[in-house]
């Protein structure tokens, strides 16, 4: 069994109004020098698979079909033996 963390991100070049709003609020809170805020989603689950490679392949398919909208999003997949 493998523990999976999928980070769903807005693709580069896609405007992120949520990230922009967070970033704009930072100076007022005293956090200077923070740039490039992007807000995404983290999705955790476990997957049954014979090895890490096949786990990764299945998760990639899941991301392509369901977890991301490829028009505006991509994903980073992290897999480790659980």
């Amino acid at each position: 069994m493998f523990a999976v963390l999928v980070e769903v991100r807005l693709r580069e070049g896609i405007a992120d109004p949520e990230g922009t709003t967070v970033e704009r609020s930072l100076p007022a809170l005293g956090f200077e020098g923070i740039d490039g805020v992007r807000v995404g989603k983290a999705i955790r689950f476990t997957v049954e698979a014979d090895d890490e490679e096949s786990a990764r392949t299945r998760v990639q398919e899941l991301c392509d079909r369901f977890l991301t909208n490829p028009v505006i999003e991509d994903s980073v997949i992290m897999v480790e033996a659980a």
Partner: protein, 224 residues
């Protein structure tokens, strides 16, 4: 014979009765179709209405596109049947790949709920066939994720194919090219964020939605 319009009901839809009521007021027949059904009844048009199908979990439309009825809607559209997605229905149709692009969070992160002005940009669609290019319509919007986004190639295809059917006069959500509604290449599948069913009676402040729903009924009757 009156055109028969099926209105798809997902768990979380909340505009299906408004659409059915507006269709009946315009002389059509309306019936609500459950998302879990495998097949559509005998219909001349399908409307995917607004609301929060499956709670909008993950992304608006992401789960609804896999509802059993969507395979039948896909076939109906492929055979040239008129299909219109309103608001959340538009989001469902983009997720299902029936229309290109995606609807992102509004620029400014505000939920926008007000009557807006639209210009009819093309009459080459089942929803605008009886309107006139340049005709100005007052119709309400009610959404958080109505910011239409697509890549440059898709935008060029939409523009050159005369597939942008409605544009905002004063863009409320950041949509590229002020897009409020688009059609597929055949003009039989249309998605729009504004709610024509909420502008179908003078008592509700505007009757400008009638020309759109009337176009749909006329297109539907033509396919009977």
């Amino acid at each position: 014979m009156a055109a028969r319009v099926g209105v798809v009901l997902f768990p979380g839809s909340n505009c299906e009765q408004d659409v059915a009521e507006a269709v009946r007021a315009l002389g059509g027949q309306a019936e609500v179709v459950w998302h879990g059904d495998q097949a559509l009844p005998a219909l001349d048009a399908v409307v995917v209405p607004g609301g929060f199908a499956h709670g909008d979990y993950l992304r608006p439309g992401a789960i609804a596109r896999f509802s059993p009825i969507m395979a039948a809607v896909d076939r109906f559209a492929a055979e040239g049947g008129p299909v219109v997605g309103i608001c959340n229905g538009f989001q469902v149709l983009t997720e299902a790949g029936l229309l290109p692009g995606a609807l992102q969070k509004n620029a400014g992160l505000k939920f926008v709920c007000r009557t807006v002005e639209l210009d009819v940009a093309s009459t080459r669609s089942v929803l605008t066939a009886e309107a006139e290019v340049g005709q100005r319509l007052r119709i309400p919007v009610n959404h958080f994720e109505g910011n239409y986004t697509c890549d440059d190639t898709t935008l060029q295809e939409l523009q050159e194919g005369d597939r942008i059917v409605l544009r905002y006069v004063d863009n409320p959500n950041g949509s590229v090219d002020d897009i409020a509604g688009i059609a597929n290449a055949g003009g039989n599948v249309v998605g729009l964020m504004p709610h024509p069913e909420r502008a179908a009676d003078a008592l509700l402040g505007s009757e400008d939605g009638r020309v759109l729903l009337g176009s749909l009924l006329a297109s539907a009757a033509a396919t009977v």
